[in-house]
């Protein structure tokens, strides 16, 4: 029993770690295609990571241990958050370790240290990135909690595995699509903001006027940069998994038979690859918003989540 649980957790960690660079590569490829470029292969991020790990890192003389510890903390907190989300099996052994709020706060732990690391190098870029990350994070969180609550209401639980498992088995499934739809829309906006994608942030930019996440991690190099990049990919994977499995848990393995798990794995990869391609498309369709216009977008997310809640209570009340 214990052994099985550990195996499943390790398997999930491996899946998440393995798939996240692929997602990043896929988004880049889609964008390249839309821009009439051939673009690098979808597996390029793996090569990038391997190379970064082998490069000698340069550490700024002004920094403290916070700067070197942050990549590890960020990596650990993001991966731990990932372990709370069901990927290809609906009942993760880590279900009891933390519910969706724990997930939010685990990610916040990473953000906290990243903000500190941005300040640590002492250059204006890092500070700018940290300051902007701070405002984006503060506006995202309320919308996120409220949309989570709307989802939790329809599924009758705040534990992710339980939500996904119930929905997959059509138990207590959403009897009303409208609140679910609102929550989905809200969570999608939140996911774009949290993972630093267009229209909130642009991961491809290195212009001081537009950078948020990239500015914070500007001073990282070598294996530290590799870990930070990998963690960013993981965060993307976590949010895509969350959206895919909470709203469309089709095909996920509800039992632990090899066949079900195989199907679960394949459908899982297909689902999040589809979502990644959607993000790539969206990034080509929209321009990045000015920082102070992000409030409008996140305001919409907040209201949507609130409406989801209202709809749930009123329409079914």
């Amino acid at each position: 029993m214990m052994l099985q649980a550990i195996t499943l957790v390790v398997a999930q960690a491996i899946v998440l770690l393995a798939i996240s660079p692929f997602l990043v590569g896929l988004i880049r490829k889609v964008k390249a295609r839309f821009q009439c470029r051939r673009g690098a292969g979808v597996f390029q991020p793996y090569a990038d990571l391997a190379k970064l790990f082998r490069k000698q890192p340069v550490i700024s003389t002004t920094t403290s241990w916070i700067f070197t510890a942050t990549p590890y903390i960020l990596f650990a907190s993001t991966l731990s958050a990932g372990l709370l989300v069901p990927t290809f099996i609906s009942q993760t052994p880590m279900n009891f370790a933390g519910n969706i709020i724990a997930l939010v706060y685990l990610l916040a732990l990473g953000t906290f240290f990243l903000i500190l690391a941005g300040l640590d190098a002492g250059s204006a870029f890092g500070g700018m990135g940290s300051s902007r990350e701070a405002i984006v994070a503060s506006l995202t969180e309320p919308a996120m909690i409220l949309s989570i609550f709307a989802i939790a209401l329809t599924a009758g639980s705040t534990n992710l595995s339980t939500i996904v498992h119930k929905t997959a088995l059509m138990e207590g499934i959403v009897t009303d699509p409208s609140p679910h739809l609102m929550a989905l829309a809200a969570l999608c906006i939140v996911a774009l903001a949290e993972t630093g994608r267009v229209p909130v942030d642009n991961p491809a930019t290195h212009l001081e006027l537009t950078m948020i996440h990239e500015a914070m991690v500007l001073e990282y190099s070598g294996r530290y940069l590799a870990l930070v990049e990998w963690a960013a990919g993981l965060k993307l994977a976590v949010f895509l998994t969350l959206i895919a499995n909470v709203f469309a848990p089709w095909g996920i393995a509800t039992t632990l038979t090899p066949a079900a798990m195989g199907i679960g794995l394949v459908t899982y990869i297909l689902k999040i690859a589809g979502l990644a391609m959607l993000i790539g498309t969206l990034e080509c369709m929209f321009a990045k918003l000015r920082l102070f216009r992000v409030t409008d977008l996140l305001g919409v997310a907040f209201i949507l989540a609130l409406l989801g809640l209202v709809f749930f209570y009123i329409l079914r009340g």
Binding site: M182, D296, G299, V300, I303, I314
Partner: protein, 222 residues
Amino acid sequence: MSLFSIDVGSQLVDLGSALLLLTCFAIVAQRRLSACVDLFVLQSVFLALTASLVAFLTGIHHIYVAAALTIVVKAVIIPRILKQVIEHVNVKRELEMNVNVPTGLLICGALVILAFFITQPIIPLGFLLTRDSLAIALAIVLIGFFMMIARKKAVTQVIGFLVMENGLFLGATAAAYGMPLIVELGVFFDLLVGTLIIGIYSHRLQDAFDSVDTSKLTTLKE
């Protein structure tokens, strides 16, 4: 009727109304004028779809006609007029507002909750499959009204007015499976004329003040 059970049907109607409300919020959050018009078109299409769904589920055929009219008038003709007005009077692309977007959104959220509270005593009395939509319809009317207050340009006030009308139409469909056809025809005609008049009025405003900002009208008093 045999295809859908009443329950699923009513959920679909709810979903349609929810989408209408969503587009309302999108319009409130939008800062570009032409995008507002596009979103209004989208809203009208959703409205037509919801109405046809009701027509299909209840078998009341004159709602189909109203839905078709909605498409023709609100999704084709009126947007054309509005776009022409926008082009002619050379309105700045950015909207000017009395209330900024996030605050506006919060106010609209509060309006929705208010609408739900007002209709709460009425809803359980209804027996129609569309009864839940009544609250949403009222919310849309209120938001439309708010838009007319919060936006400065004449064109956006027209959009607010049209959104209100969409809400009324949904309300009529929800509460009584639509108004008699002759009333609906009258309403559409009114709308068309109203939009035309405001269009012309915008032109005049532009000529007189070099702007379509209705708050400039206050300078008329002497």
